[in-house]
């Protein structure tokens, strides 16, 4: 590129020439864009399985809220790609076997088949009851199961298993995050509306526990039946339903997303909505860009052509936890990876500003919880000022002394300082 731009008069012209001339042949000027083949002579292989199942009776959602079919799986795929980029330098290669079962398929049989094929790291994106029963199979005793789809507290409590790790925040962690925020804002009187589903009851139970922990008072609690008869519309029902209560914030428990969105702007008094709708605590949100998160968002969008959901994030974390442990332990051996992952040195970078690690008492991944509305990230919990004697992330969720998981074999060398 030899342009002599000596006289100031033609400087501008020269500049334009340079620019356009540079732009055109750029692609051809760059020789290799393909990642080079693994340089270390011996490559150790590690295969990871991913198991998910279609829902039997999915709730009827509004037409604009269709869920992509590959939620979760795309995160696992990206994790494998990231692991393999690192693996080129460590001589480790990672493969993913994905399995999206039909609603009537036998998940247990599929799981047993994976184990029989030799898979020992298995990601499951399944309902919590299915996860609990898989974890208790004799075939699962020498396997690590990565729960990337459930927030169930009992799965982390009385129904826990030593071979089970949880990548999404539990319901307790989510509602703790929300209550920390309400405490900080001094919006301490809430009106709790609970849906009819089992999951809604569990979410409401988590809200009650968290409210008590963080000094928030539930001034009213009402079940929502959700049947609109003739002439009973959201416009007429919601104001009446919320009338006569003095509260700061309406908290809804509607995990399936059937009715929670009907409350905002329809309540008797002008009050904001939080919980499963409105201001929502979650593991991941597309508005999150801090701490390098934008890079993960971009990488994911390039691959999946859509935004990353929290289940994608959970699956990505699971695969990265495996990859990070394999590169630190310098091995693809199951026991060595497991030992490192559950040990005190494990520190996973999850784009949320602090190192993430597994709680030894229940296999839950410690992590910050994002509080966001539709298009805005409002806060990241733990909220400043909530302290813990060991790790501030443990102000979210069930701490060791109160854990109902009396199965003390999420081994490793104890918790991180």
């Amino acid at each position: 590129m030899k342009f002599a731009c000596k006289t100031p008069l033609i400087g501008l012209l020269c500049l334009t020439l340079v620019v356009s001339a540079e732009a055109a042949p750029k692609k051809t000027a760059l020789p290799e864009k393909e990642p080079s083949k693994p340089s270390p002579a011996l490559t150790a292989n590690l295969s990871v399985a991913y198991l998910a199942q279609d829902k039997a009776n999915p709730p009827t959602l509004p037409f604009f809220l269709t869920q992509p079919a590959d939620v979760g799986m795309q995160g696992a795929r990206l994790g494998i790609a990231d692991n393999n980029t690192t693996g080129r330098f460590t001589g480790q290669s990672f493969q993913l076997k994905t399995n999206q079962l039909a609603a009537d398929a036998d998940a247990t049989a599929a799981f047993k088949q994976r184990v029989a094929e030799g898979y020992r790291h298995i990601l499951v994106n399944l309902p919590s009851e299915a996860v609990a029963s898989l974890a208790k199979l004799p075939e699962a005793s020498n396997v690590l199961i990565y729960d990337v789809g459930s927030s169930d507290d009992s799965l982390r409590g009385e129904n826990c298993s030593a071979n089970l790790l949880h990548l999404l925040p539990s319901r307790a962690m989510r509602t703790d995050a929300l209550m920390q925020y309400l405490n900080k804002k001094r919006w301490q009187k809430i009106f709790l509306v609970t849906g009819p589903e089992e999951a809604d009851q569990q979410y409401a139970a988590a809200v009650k526990r968290s409210a008590q922990r963080f000094g928030v008072k539930i001034v009213a609690e009402k079940p929502w039946q959700h049947h609109f008869e003739e002439r009973r519309t959201p416009e007429s029902a919601v104001p009446v339903f919320t009338q006569g209560v003095d509260y700061d914030m309406l908290v809804v428990a509607d995990e399936a997303g059937i009715f929670g969105d009907l409350f905002a702007y329809r309540t008797w008094q002008p009050r904001p909505v939080a919980g499963t709708q409105g201001l929502i605590p979650s593991a991941w949100h597309f508005t999150h860009e801090q701490w390098g998160a934008l890079q993960l968002q971009n990488r994911f969008r390039d691959q999946a052509k859509r935004w990353m959901t929290e289940k994608d994030y959970a699956a990505w974390l699971a695969v990265r936890a495996i990859g990070e442990s394999a590169s630190r332990a310098k091995s693809t051996d199951f026991d060595k990876i497991k030992g490192f992952m559950l040990g005190s040195e494990f520190a996973l970078a999850g784009f949320k500003g602090v190192p993430l690690s597994f709680r030894p008492w229940d296999g839950q991944l410690r992590q910050p919880v994002l509080l966001s509305t539709d298009r805005s990230l409002v806060a990241v919990a733990p909220i400043e000022g909530f302290l813990h004697q060991k790790n501030e992330l443990d102000t979210l969720g069930v701490d060791q002394p109160e854990s109902q998981c009396h199965n003390p074999t999420h081994s490793g060398n104890g918790q991180k300082p």
Binding site: L15, E22, K33, S39, A349, G353
Partner: protein, 322 residues
């Protein structure tokens, strides 16, 4: 008339004498798409000029006549004339350039392409990308050893320092480092490589000859939580007496005894301190503070933060011209 000329004379002579001792700071403003120019001695913002989109990394050319500035959202590195502050050319950096380093002869730039997991090598004179080297996930920190033997690229998600042989432009070794390595810096004698880890909250010092870890330096600031301590930019003085580490949202710069590898003090500066640079005589240290939109000037002789200068939105990087 005479009096007028006298004033003019004094002004001219005065500014000449002044500029002989002064230094000029060029600061990239990520959100303003602009470059701020500050007089180092007086701490005065003298000028702000619009440049490309989302300017971040900035390096002064060997002859000090040009600045290279990564315009991340323009996917290019701009060449800016330091005399006119006009864009005089572009370098083909490929997508989303953020940080880059120059070799000791001033002939090549080594650019981290964060989204593509590549390091792009640019021949400055030919304005041409001569090679792309595949590295780990999200390459960030990059440094060239003073003897020109090594180019170090650190990747934030792979958590490695890649040792690139500068003659062959190939990776010949990889060293695992602590989570989210951000910046890599050689000591001026070329014997040590320092790498800061944002998530681990520490700095690892490696012996270059053996590529072995010498020490990990941790930080502890009273009344500041550990999570806020996120080491990013670093500078080590020429005699390897003191090193300075920007600690991000803790709003502190750590002072390290670079012989004993021990922290000896912390300076309180602006919010989310990101990058650092010395004045040419190493008597002052300048810091870019991304959230408070200013720079801090530290008097290193008297060990005091003497000034903060408002410069514009998201000051990111800085270069200092004598």
């Amino acid at each position: 008339m005479k009096i007028k000329f006298l004033w003019l004379y004094l002004l001219l002579v005065g500014s000449f004498v002044h500029s002989a001792h002064a230094d000029t700071l060029y600061i990239t403003l990520e959100k303003d798409n602009a470059l701020a120019i500050v007089d180092g001695a007086t701490g005065k913002l003298t000028k702000t000029v619009k440049i490309g989109k989302r300017p971040r990394g900035i390096v002064l050319s060997k002859d000090q006549k040009q600045l290279y500035i990564a315009a991340s959202d323009d996917n290019t590195i701009l060449i800016i004339d330091t005399a006119t502050l006009k864009v005089v050319g572009r370098l083909p950096s490929d997508k989303d350039p953020e940080t880059f380093a120059m070799d000791p002869n001033g002939e090549f730039l080594y650019v981290s392409n964060e989204d593509d997991n590549l390091v792009t090598v640019i021949d400055i004179a030919k304005r041409k990308a001569v090679k792309q080297i595949p590295v780990g996930v999200e390459p960030e920190g990059i440094a060239v050893s003073p003897d020109g033997q090594w180019v170090i690229s650190t990747s934030e998600t792979t958590n490695m320092a890649h040792w690139i042989d500068r003659a062959k432009l190939e990776i010949v070794d990889n060293t695992l480092v602590d989570p989210r390595p951000r910046s890599a810096v050689f000591t001026s004698d070329g014997k040590q490589l320092w790498v800061s880890s944002e998530i681990a909250g520490n700095v690892s010092v490696f012996d270059v000859a053996t590529k072995q870890l010498v020490k990990k330096i941790g930080f502890k600031i009273p009344a500041v939580t550990q999570e806020k301590i996120q080491p990013v930019g670093m500078r080590i003085d020429k005699n390897r007496r003191y090193a300075y580490v920007a600690l991000g949202p803790s709003n502190r710069v750590a002072v390290i005894d670079a012989q004993k590898l021990e922290v000896i003090d912390y300076y309180l500066v602006g919010q989310r301190v990101w990058n650092l640079e010395f004045s040419p005589d190493e008597k002052r240290l300048y810091t870019t503070n991304g959230v408070s939109n200013d720079i801090s000037i530290i008097d290193l002789e008297n060990r005091k933060v003497i000034k903060s200068v408002a410069v514009g939105q998201y000051p990111w990087g800085l270069a200092v011209k004598p």
